[in-house]
Symmetry: C2
Subunit: 341 residues, 2 copies
């Protein structure tokens, strides 16, 4: 399987996130991508190709212009009020989008975000744009006929909505790639999100639409981040009704229960009959991940890849979360190798 990778991700390296009342070192860091890349090379998964620059047009199909302008300029404004290398929001509104868009950086940060764990640093925009390009480059490889490709994206994307960042995510790489698939001729695209955390951004982006089916298997938001979305009763809106499928699972979920949700989700996708599939690939469902409380083993990831391959649909894997540096390379490549078996 071809991997697309850009070194530019290293420009996003936050120093701190607010966690349980303290600012602690960022758990989403460049070593994650390095570990996966190293494993890909060690096992000889396939070519590793650079990302091309696709400009901003495909990004604007998912995100608003004012949100992109914010991401591009937020850190410069932050520098005028703080020497801190990380811009974090400290106040927010529960009345978006009806609330006024503020003009000051602290108001701006809270307006466009939904957590205080996602620092904007000097290089964040550059890295986020490169991640979107990485996803788009891999999408082009699938479009040109490859059965699958892997976008080794960092920062991740599935929590970002059209106008809000958070959960370590700025641009929604999976949504941008899905839109590119539609533009390239697909009538229906399915996204399956297997990150431990609900893909609230992806859900929000496609919630009113039937041309993208979103299926997410994740920890119950009543207990786990992102807390406010990801419930089973969230099934879509208007013409999107029935095209959003959430499988919230309890803390402690192991393979058996997970497999049931996965198989059910894959059946839903099979019935939908998509022309292409995007996999939001998080491996923080691993037993031992510092941010996850599921109990999947490394072998389970191979099995996940195998089951996804049974859809026999052109498939684009896009990296989301996974924070255990010792296992992340193994678990990600197990999914990819399982798919290719």
């Amino acid at each position: 399987m071809i991997t697309v990778y850009s070194d530019e991700h290293k420009y996003h390296h936050g120093s701190g996130e607010l966690f349980r009342g303290s600012v602690v070192p960022c758990v989403e860091n460049p070593d994650r991508a390095s570990e996966i890349l190293s494993r890909i090379r060690t096992i000889g998964l396939g070519d590793v190709r650079p990302a091309h620059d696709f400009g901003l047009s495909p990004v604007y199909r998912v995100h608003t212009e004012r949100f992109i302008a914010f991401l591009q300029s937020a850190f410069d404004q932050w520098k005028s009020i703080s020497d801190n290398p990380d811009a974090l929001p400290s106040a927010w509104t529960s009345h978006r989008p009806s609330a006024e868009e503020p003009q000051s950086i602290n108001g701006w940060l809270g307006y466009y975000s939904f957590d205080a764990g996602t620092p904007i640093t000097a290089g964040t925009w550059r890295a986020a744009k490169a991640a979107a390009d990485t996803a788009l480059t891999a999408q082009a490889i699938v479009r040109e006929g490859a059965p699958a490709a892997f976008a080794l994206t960092r920062p991740p994307g599935h929590h970002a909505s059209s106008e809000q960042y958070g959960g370590y995510c700025f641009l929604n790489n999976a949504a941008i790639a899905a839109e590119a698939m539609l533009r390239d001729g697909a009538d229906r695209v399915a996204i399956i999100d297997i990150d431990y955390h609900h893909g609230n951004g992806t859900q929000a982006i496609f919630y009113d639409r039937s041309d993208v089916l979103f299926v997410s298997i994740h920890a119950d938001p009543a207990q786990e981040y992102p807390f406010y979305h990801g419930y089973a009763q969230e099934t879509g809106n208007e013409s999107g009704e029935g095209f959003n499928v959430n499988y919230p699972l309890p803390i402690g979920t192991g393979w058996e229960r997970y497999r049931e949700a996965l198989d059910d989700g894959l059946r839903r996708i099979s019935t939908y009959g998509p022309d292409a599939l995007v996999v939001s690939l998080g491996v923080d469902t691993f037993d031992g991940d510092p941010l996850g409380k599921f109990r999947l083993t490394s072998d389970n990831f191979t099995e996940i890849g195998r089951r996804i391959s049974e859809l026999s649909t052109p498939t684009l894997f896009i990296l989301e979360g996974g924070y255990d540096l010792e296992s992340i390379g193994l678990n990600v490549t197990n999914v990819l190798c399982g798919f290719e078996e």
Copy 2:
């Protein structure tokens, strides 16, 4: 003038707030109240009386039961996940109240708050309840015939709405006192908020109603906290239309411009003809306040008190912000003495 004061405020003493990307020592701390109390005694302003316990009924007229249950139990839940003495939210939703109420403490904190600068500590509920009782005790003194009284409340209240805390505020002492005035027979109550920061909580509580006129003079929210409310075009809703009056003023505002807004606001109140007046008394408009960028002098505060007294309405002063410990006692008592001149 009689002051009502309770030592219980000392139970709320947060250690840190998120400010410009770092957790820094809380600027809202018990020394604020001590300084004011000391000044009141030094100048012999009048009796200092203890607060009575009014139970929860008057609190429930402003805040929802589930919000009070949250404030009462949040810290106990926090203890189960963290040794940090301050509970701070780190994620939030822009979809209240339609979002699901989460069941985990981190989700809960974000659901009921709008900033990460307002720690909930072991003693926060106790102090917040005592502050409401302090306001209600002072309200009873005015009801019984005193021309005015001063509630030396801490934590402050004007940012708290029926279901959200933030801006160092948990229970809206001014709103609770205004409701008590209505219950005691007032047909119309006016609230004038002269804190540097917009009283977004008080505005939200009375936004649809005509029996409480809310007038606020504050820094432009486009530039200053609370960022998302406090604009001039926010004039009330439904039967409250026309009964919400905001005077956002630019950074650097001095006495002349401030006085114009004050006089205009007092004219609006005079026309309204309230049976009683609540003053949300912040002195962070002082030139030198660490959180404010207006340029009022200590003499200006005397003049503010004098002008408010010209309404010849029973008046309840309730403490809100003001963070310069050297001047806070002088500036607060200047308002009160100006009123009594």
